[in-house]
Amino acid sequence: MNKSIRYRMQRVLFYLLLAVILFYLIFPFYWAFRSSITPNSEMFTTPLSYWPHHPTLEFYREVFGDRLFMRSMLNSTIVAGSVTIISLVIGAFASYALGRFNFRGRSPVLYIILAMTMFPQIAVLGSLYTLVTRFHLYNTLPSLIITYLLFTLPFTVWVLTTFFQTMPKELEEAAYVDGATPFQVFWKVLLPLAAPGLVTTGLLAFISAWNEFLYALSFIQTPENRTITLAIFTFNTNTTGGFELPWGKMMAGTMIVTLPLIILTLIFQRRIVDGLTAGAVKG
């Protein structure tokens, strides 16, 4: 009797703790959502309503009607998409070499790649800035596509290498016995098997490029070329009439930008967790 009460108490405490954690993780996101559907008349009155009395989609209409904001969505898609494809293509070659070949100089290359995954972006900002201006790429999307490779490529190579290493050797041995060349082994045998790894690393590369801010802030000047993080940031500087920032519209914008990411993350959650831990734990 006593024991079962104690057990029940423990269970209750456990679920209470669970609820607190869940609340902590979700509440800021909920609040942004609540603010995105709360009309200004309720948004800027106290006491606050935790759920709007008259929910509105007005802010969403405003965001979708904002040509520059939609343009920045497109820009981010172009930049993050290109960076992801480039990283995957050339990263797959490199990680095939690093994961399946034994050659002189392999270890140094691997260490350079690992060191670069922790490379502080700010350390080369000045040089990249001069590089970008010298090649007349300042205020263009290619300036971001090229410089983002600094953080997406080493990460892709590192994670894919650990992925290639875990594949059983017998597969390619059989192919070699049948007279296949290394390239054939790569295309026909290993790459199809690496597909899940490519999806994971691609997704992680896409997210990190989509979220980048420092280089976008430094290399992009005009509103038409802004990426999405810059567009969200510049809400800080344009007040619409009143003294408050356009919080409702900003929150609607954040919802539109993050929902695709969250949906993708939830679909691929297992693989993302595996990819993140492969990138970190196995180091």
Binding site: F29, S35, T45, A97, F101, P120, T258, A280, V281, G283
Partner: protein
């Protein structure tokens, strides 16, 4: 990383054909380097050359879009850096931020990891919820929190003053100097704790359950089990996550810049550097700061790696 063991492709070759082995080995090496060319080219273009260039610029008076020719100025920039109070302040802000966030993220992260590691209904949903803060771009989570911190219409003031009556007046969280650092740290903690928890969770799941069963048989209670089994076995995962988090926190830029712009009292090292490089086009002095940041981060890496080595021996 084990450098050699993983990739040795055994090639069955009769002993009578040594030259064939040599050509095969040679062609393997050639193929490998051939495959590496694009990656090495990119790495050279966007990392190695810029890094060397940064070091070179740090000894010059280089300015962007300037008619003045760039010339070598020796240690002038470094001498100036030593007496630069603004930079010293930015180091202090960054280090304080790093210590606060890393400590709290690990304390909270281990609690969350332990909770999620136990058996309960809806565990999958919980793991999914953990990825939500992680998936949101830092710039966006900073804006979301900035709105929650709002002095008049922010939800924090509403909760603490009107609902819970913990405070008796509203607080301007972001503009007050004594609350601005905790405020910005809270955003980073919210975003990154789940990441830390996931790394620790991966470490926890590797620990075999029979170790705990044996300890229970021997009469060890939960607290003893935590400190005698969980913590020691989790150590490698903790240290790796610690290095990652510290390096990330030391180069923090986004969350500070969104919340405070480039306000002098809350500049991190990265913000101060970006201001010099881009806003003032002072590539020479900015590069000197870059080198300094690189060295400071390097010191932390060396310290951690040494600590790791000492522990292993």
């Amino acid at each position: 990383m084990d450098g050699k063991a993983a990739t040795d492709i055994p090639i069955e070759t009769p002993k009578s054909q040594p030259s064939r082995i040599a050509t095969l080995r040679g062609s393997q090496t050639r193929t490998a380097w051939f495959l590496l060319i694009p990656t090495l080219l990119v790495v050279t273009l966007v990392a190695l050359v810029p890094l060397i260039q940064t070091v070179w610029y740090s000894f010059t008076n280089a300015r962007l879009a300037s008619v003045q020719p760039t010339h070598f100025v020796g240690l002038k920039n470094y001498r100036y850096l030593l007496h630069d109070i603004a930079f010293r302040d930015s180091i202090w802000v960054t280090v304080k931020f790093t210590v606060i966030t890393v400590v709290i993220e690990f304390a909270l992260g281990i609690v969350i990891a332990l909770v999620v590691n136990s058996n309960f209904k809806g565990r999958g949903g919980m793991r999914a919820a953990m990825l939500v803060p992680w998936a949101i771009p830092t710039v966006i989570s900073a804006q979301m929190w900035k709105w929650m911190y709002n002095g008049i219409y922010g939800v924090f003031n509403d909760m603490l003053v009107d609902k819970l009556h913990i405070l008796n007046h509203n607080i301007a969280w972001i503009s007050q100097p004594n609350t601005s650092l905790p405020a910005v740290a809270a955003v980073d903690i919210w975003k990154t704790t789940p990441f830390v928890a996931l790394l620790l969770l991966a470490g926890l799941q590797v620990i075999p359950t029979d170790v705990y069963e044996a300890a229970t048989v021997d009469g060890a209670n939960t607290v003893q089990q935590f400190f005698r089994i969980t913590v020691p076995l989790l150590r490698p995962a903790i240290l790796v996550a610690l290095i990652f988090r510290t390096l990330d926190a030391l180069r923090v830029f986004d969350v500070f810049f969104v919340m405070f712009s480039s306000r002098a009292s809350t500049q991190t090292m990265a913000i101060y550097d970006q201001q010099n490089l881009v806003s003032f086009s002072d590539v020479g002095y900015g590069s000197t700061i870059s080198v300094a940041i690189f060295v400071i981060i390097g010191i932390f890496v060396v310290a951690y790696v040494t600590a790791l080595r000492v522990e292993r021996t």
